[in-house]
């Protein structure tokens, strides 16, 4: 068989021995043949038994199709798709960058004001060392805050999978909610946690998942300023559902706020869509990307009692990513 491409010789031999058992069910197989001018030709080989009128097999019929062109088109399409995804990511990053620019400017502005204040005080006779220490410590904190924003940019830019580690979603929810304790008190919002005890651990990126919850909780709290105080409740529920291989964690964050207009409901996860005058329209979009990168789902439902419910599910057995 001088025409078998030597690189594929072993599989080619196996295939040629196989027909007795496999040919009838096999629709054909791909193989690489060598053209007499030396280049490799991608082929599709179909083999069928030749059977005479008595039903006796007297030979094999084999057809070999040159599919090099089809294959290269397919490869091209795949590369295009990859490029497209990369471009989409760059566009999203551009948007992200301008919103992060604002987030980054805040700590930088604070650092600038603290330092100018320190310089002013150093020149004054009644300056106390303790007040400078206090201001300098605050400068450090703001520098770290700026650093954390930069880190988030890195996390976002990295094209890799989220960092996978075993984490406790219940704990993440409690931590995220705790961040809003002060804010909720100020706004008269009651955060009620209804987290099932001993939730199974999931594989995921703790930082990103917490960011999602922070975003959703923030949205919920901010949606309720015009509501009677007794109804200003943000309810966060987490439990397990499903069985065996389909088992997943469910989280629902429901508010009694202003809700989402019907014709906006389909758009809230789109990038750049926002109902907040100062919003960038990236929050929910990024939340969904994060949940999807964990093979989960994030969606919105109107709260029957008024307001919004954001629901998400995360599979307990993370599928291997493609």
């Amino acid at each position: 068989m001088p025409f078998w491409d030597p690189d594929y010789l072993i599989t080619s031999e196996l295939q040629s021995e196989g027909p007795h058992v496999a040919a009838l069910s096999r629709p054909g197989f791909e193989s690489h043949l060598r053209h007499r001018e030396g280049q490799s030709v991608h082929t599709m080989v179909h083999i069928a038994p030749l059977i005479d009128g008595d039903g006796t097999q007297f030979g094999w019929l084999s057809s070999v199709l040159d599919i090099t062109e089809a294959k290269s088109l397919e490869e091209h399409a795949r590369q295009q798709e990859e490029k497209l995804q990369f471009t989409a990511r760059l566009v999203a990053m551009g948007e992200m960058a301008s919103s992060l620019a604002h987030e980054l400017n805040q700590p930088l502005a604070a650092i600038s004001s603290y330092s100018t204040g320190c310089l002013n005080r150093i020149e004054q006779a009644d300056m106390q060392q303790a007040e400078l220490v206090d201001a300098l410590q605050k400068i450090c904190r703001q520098a770290q805050r700026a650093g954390a924003v930069i880190r988030r940019i890195y996390e976002f830019v990295r094209r890799s999978e989220p960092r996978q580690a075993s984490c406790d979603l219940g704990e993440i929810i409690i931590d995220a909610a705790a961040l809003f304790e002060g804010e909720a008190r100020k706004r008269g919002v009651d955060i009620r946690l209804d987290v099932e005890a001993h939730l199974p651990q999931i594989m995921g990126d703790r930082v990103l998942l917490e960011q999602v919850l922070v975003n959703l909780i923030k949205n919920g709290i901010e949606s309720m300023p015009g509501i009677l105080e007794e109804f200003r409740v943000l309810h966060i529920m987490a439990n397990t559902s499903g069985e065996n291989s389909d088992q997943h964690l469910r989280v629902a964050i429901s508010d009694r706020g202003s809700g989402i207009a019907d014709n906006d409901a389909s758009k809230i996860f789109l990038p750049f869509f926002t109902t907040k005058p100062e919003g960038m329209g990236m929050g929910l979009n990024i939340c969904r990307s994060v949940i999807e990168s964990h093979h989960g789902r994030l969606w919105y439902e109107p709260n029957p009692g008024g307001g919004s419910i954001f629901k998400l599910t995360l599979p307990l057995r993370a599928k291997r990513s493609p």
């Binding site: 930088l108 604070a110 004001s113 004054q124």
Partner: protein, 202 residues
């Protein structure tokens, strides 16, 4: 809260705290507010000083607060802090009577200078208000007749001329003049003219 304060209104806790420290480093008394809503809820017409207002805030924006305060005849000077790209908003606010705006990032001591200038303006305004109210109160004590005599005095006429024109005794004009000076708290016609000029000047 009658003490003049630089009211810092910003949703970012660190910015609030930093501006607070900055202003106090130059002996400016401050108050901080985490939202436009909280300031508006606490606002009272006795509030004085100036406002340092972030133009963009979640909930009620700086511009909305400015409109609300104008609606309530709050005359405190407002300095807007604006982000990149908000200049048109800031210019619109200036046209509506905002005191000033600074684009972030700004020179911090420049901000303090402007805050101090705004506080001085507010203090001058309040002084004038007090003086005007005081002059108005004194004027209100004059009888119609005394007002009439006062007009003649302000026109620079001698008592005799006034007496002739008003067809009253010169002695009566002298009594009116003495009572006018006493009620207005002045010692001469020149003082009286200056006092009333002050009321008109503003």
């Amino acid at each position: 809260m009658n003490e003049p304060l630089a009211h810092i209104i910003d949703d970012d806790e660190a910015i609030r705290d930093a501006l607070n420290w900055l202003l106090r480093s130059r002996q400016v008394s401050t108050a901080t507010w985490a939202s436009a809503e909280s300031f508006l809820a606490a606002w009272h017409e006795k509030f004085c000083g100036c406002l340092i207002l972030d133009i963009r805030m979640p909930g009620m924006s700086g511009l909305e607060l400015f409109d609300q305060l104008q609606g309530r005849r709050c005359l405190m000077p407002v300095i807007f802090l604006t982000g990149h790209g908000d200049i048109p908003l800031a210019v619109a606010a200036l046209k509506k009577g905002a005191y000033d705006f600074l684009e972030k990032p700004f020179d911090d001591n420049d901000l303090v200078d402007r805050v101090i200038a705004a506080l001085a303006q507010d203090s001058a305004r309040r002084n004038h208000q007090i003086i005007s109210a005081d002059i108005a109160a004194r004027l209100a004590q004059l009888s119609p007749r005394e007002r009439e005599v006062m007009e003649h005095i302000l026109a620079g006429k001698y008592n005799k001329v006034i007496a002739d024109e008003m067809r009253i005794a010169m002695r009566t004009v002298e009594v009116h003049r003495a009572r006018i000076f006493e009620k207005m708290g002045v010692r001469s016609a020149v003082d009286l003219a200056q006092l009333l000029a002050e009321l008109k000047s503003r």
